[in-house]
Symmetry: C2
Subunit: 350 residues, 2 copies
């Protein structure tokens, strides 16, 4: 209980990150609307005029700033604290959409926001203190402890089974296959991002970690995990509706990340049973709030569809198939009001 | 943190109470269905055959046992712990309705249940310890401290204003008038019930408190408050739809009760800021879960109305006007699936 100075820094960074990422969707959408108004062509139907719209680029930069803040947050606070707070970007974007874009939030959606905030407060209050780390070698030691190696081994085996056995057979009928692969890889992404972030933090503090091959190893792992996670997230989003993929992915990804962090960084060691249970309850509350926000967005959407956003998910998915331009896809999806929040998930690969 | 022995007793009693009260609605409804099947006349349209149905009486007795357990729970644990747990009776009845009566629970309703449970766990973990009380005189001392007298004074003034100024003018157009009166009185009911319960507990333990006029004074206060609360709750339910009254009443009543308890019993003294904030968050989560359960019950009801229950709320409200038979009204209302849970609130006057 009580926030340490490091945790406080991580918390502020995580909140700033959620604010920027949440706002970026709204700014980008405003930019797309303006571009559509000027050109008469919507992004979803093939127009690229938004690339000439400064507001769209402001949104892009806002998003990148948010992502960087998120990355740095992991260097200061435990993943158990930073990861669930990612849900707050959904609130920021839902509230801003209500105020700026006049996309009325469903009453149950407001309740979802309140729950996400209440759950986040509980998580923050009970978050474990970040253990002081002095060298990347310590992180490598944590990463090679038997329990974490067993976790990594299980993840790799499961991913292999999913990729080679289930994906060809039912990857296009069962939403859990692709989503499972990217959630499993996602938990490893976050762990390696945290290792890399901490190494870079130490380097900036004057303790150069770049001399150790371990730092470069973690950089390689980050690259592999993030690319694989992105690849399968895109497959999941191409195959299934974002409204189905996003909540499932968020739940699985956050749960596995917390599990990985608890095993690797022993976040729960020295915490009382009550504190751990409170943390888990806070996490469940945030998850419920997120699911509710998604579910009620759909309610509103189906009851009063707004035609202002360019594309439907299936349309953007079709446009995207076989096209490696990640930014373009995000952009087209973020345009639709119910999509904008969900897509924040895919940004939060780590 | 950590449950004291007294708190544990209070917690178990509160859980048992919620179980019994929640189950009683389902049993009574089963009884009503059987009675309707045998007689061909439904309670909602004036039949009283259910009084011959043993199952209905089993339900009645179950409810009374639940109410008694709830009353006793207040003698052991702080109101801050017992009152919010009342929401669990809603879950019990929703889950039993799903299993026994095959009234399918909406997906968001399941989420509401999960949230009520998560919130309750957080409240239980952070609940303050019950202060040891040795005599009704101590309770009287707490009840006459300036801060609590100021609270009681404000409540009485507010109730007077509501009853004599607002009730005649907008009592039948604004749902907050009647609901406000019974929530304000409800907070005093719980405080006096707790005083009386503790006195009776002490008496059973061998320290006779019936020799003090204070005990009899509290008994009088209980009677006045509960009658007034019931009277205005009935007015609220007669005038407005139960689906509107119940969540508003639950939120106001529980909030005011916690406020009263914190002032009178100083529940939060000696608790850390983090613990108090966690408790409040837990409470907000339970409230959100309750509101959600109510809201989604309506969703389901409007989309697939089940004709098996006798009466609609407006019908039972009309039947009830000018009729003092509280039990009859409850019974008719509880018959409708979406009503059954909400009515548990009115049982929980204290």
């Amino acid at each position: 209980m009580g926030l340490s100075k490091e945790n406080l820094k991580g918390l502020i960074l995580a909140l700033v990150s959620s604010g920027f990422i949440g706002a970026s969707f709204i700014i980008k959408k405003q930019g797309l609307r303006r571009a559509a108004a000027v050109s008469g062509v919507r992004a979803g139907v093939g127009g690229y005029y938004y690339l000439l719209e400064p507001l769209w680029w402001v949104g892009m930069i806002t998003m990148i700033v948010g992502e960087v803040a998120n990355f740095v947050a992991y260097a200061f606070a435990p993943a158990v604290l930073v990861t669930p707070l990612g849900a707050l970007s959904i609130i920021v974007s839902a509230v801003l959409a209500d105020i700026i874009l006049k996309e009325k939030l469903h009453n149950l959606g407001i309740l979802g926001c309140i729950m996400c905030i209440a759950g986040s407060v509980i998580i923050v209050i009970h978050a474990p203190k970040e253990q002081p780390i002095n060298s990347v070698l310590e992180i490598m030691h944590m990463a090679t402890q038997p329990a974490f190696l067993a976790y990594v081994g299980s993840v790799i085996v499961l991913v292999f089974i999913l990729v080679f056995h289930f994906a060809p057979r039912c990857g296009h009928t069962n939403v859990l296959v692709f989503t499972g692969i990217c959630s499993l890889m996602g938990s490893l992404s976050v762990m390696s991002v945290k290792a890399l972030g901490t190494s870079l933090k130490l380097t900036f503090e004057g303790k150069n970690q770049l001399i150790y091959p371990e730092t470069w190893f973690f950089m390689l792992v980050v690259a592999i995990c993030v690319i694989m996670q992105m690849n399968y997230l895109n497959k999941a989003l191409d195959t299934f509706n974002t409204a189905i993929v996003s909540p499932i992915y968020y739940v699985m990804f956050t749960t596995l990340t917390i599990l990985a962090s608890v095993i690797m960084f022993k976040d729960w060691d020295g915490q009382s049973g009550g504190t751990i249970v409170s943390e888990i309850c806070g996490f469940i509350v945030v998850l419920s709030g997120t699911i509710m926000l998604h579910a009620t967005k759909d309610l509103e959407r189906s009851s009063s569809f707004r035609g202002s956003g360019p594309s439907s998910p299936s349309l953007s998915a079709r446009l995207y198939t076989g096209n490696g331009d990640m930014l373009l896809k995000q952009d087209e999806e973020n345009v639709s009001p119910s999509e904008s929040n969900m897509c924040s998930r895919r940004q939060e690969l780590y």
